[in-house]
């Protein structure tokens, strides 16, 4: 299943809830303000860093760029994708769950 998260982990518990319910082997794509969850060195970094072992975590490049977050500031293991990558992830998974 593909999970998308569009809220900042500092403002909402949606990333935490998503990580608690996502099965091993799932894909998580951070979009919009959700991309702040990809930042290394924050109070929420450990939560996502631990998940990257069993879950593939992606962040949407255009949303990172808009917010001034370069790739070298992200948690290692998070893959940056474009809108084409978003489409590929949606097609590759049988279901999409949006944690709005």
């Amino acid at each position: 299943m593909l999970h998308t998260v569009n809220k900042s982990p500092f403002e909402s518990t949606s990333l935490k809830t998503c990580l608690g319910l996502a099965k091993s082997g799932s894909d998580i794509l951070l979009i919009e303000d959700g991309v702040y969850g990809a930042l290394a060195g924050t109070i929420h970094t450990i939560m996502l860093a631990e998940a990257t072992g069993t879950i593939s975590v992606y962040a949407l490049g255009p949303d990172l760029k808009a917010r001034g977050l370069p790739e070298d500031r992200l948690i290692p293991g998070i893959k940056v994708v474009g809108y084409d990558g978003f489409v590929e992830l949606a097609c590759a998974n049988d279901k999409v769950q949006s944690w709005l």
């Binding site: 924050t42 949303d63 760029k65 917010r67 500031r73 474009g82």
Partner: protein, 135 residues
């Protein structure tokens, strides 16, 4: 205007996820015409509004971050950023846009607008205000 009041605009939200930051910035610029004693505060995800290097070209949104540079010309010269909010987000002052204003009482010397303050300092500052807006 007979009386000058202390106005504080508190910015608590990340720049593009909602329209609050953009609308708040416009209110500050419009309000500047009334010549009040104005300051802005950036706390929680609001600190992301001042992040350097915002580039919305690929996402098709409006990049309003250059507008913060105009604040000095509108005599909005005090932008307080909470240190704790930066630290929680793995940011330092070096991650923020360099914003300055020109002091006409000091031979137009360029001075920094951004002041990093502690939560305790901010709490005292809040108490001094006559009017507080939240965005």
């Amino acid at each position: 205007m007979s009386e000058t009041k202390k106005f504080m605009y508190i910015n608590r939200r990340a720049p593009y996820g909602t329209v609050y930051p953009l609308e708040g910035l416009e209110v500050v610029l419009i309000g500047a015409a009334f010549e009040q004693e104005v300051c802005m505060v950036f706390i929680s995800d609001g600190v992301f509004q001042l992040k350097q290097g915002q580039d919305t070209i690929d996402s098709g949104m409006k990049n309003f971050s250059p507008t913060y540079r105009a604040l000095g010309d509108y005599e909005v010269t005090r932008l307080y950023v909470e240190r704790e909010s930066l630290e929680e987000r793995g940011l330092t002052e070096a991650d923020l846009m360099p914003l300055t204003w020109e002091d006409e009482d000091d031979d137009w010397a360029e001075k920094p607008s951004i002041h990093i303050v502690s939560r305790t300092q901010l709490s005292d500052l809040l108490e001094e205000q006559d009017v507080v807006f939240n965005f």
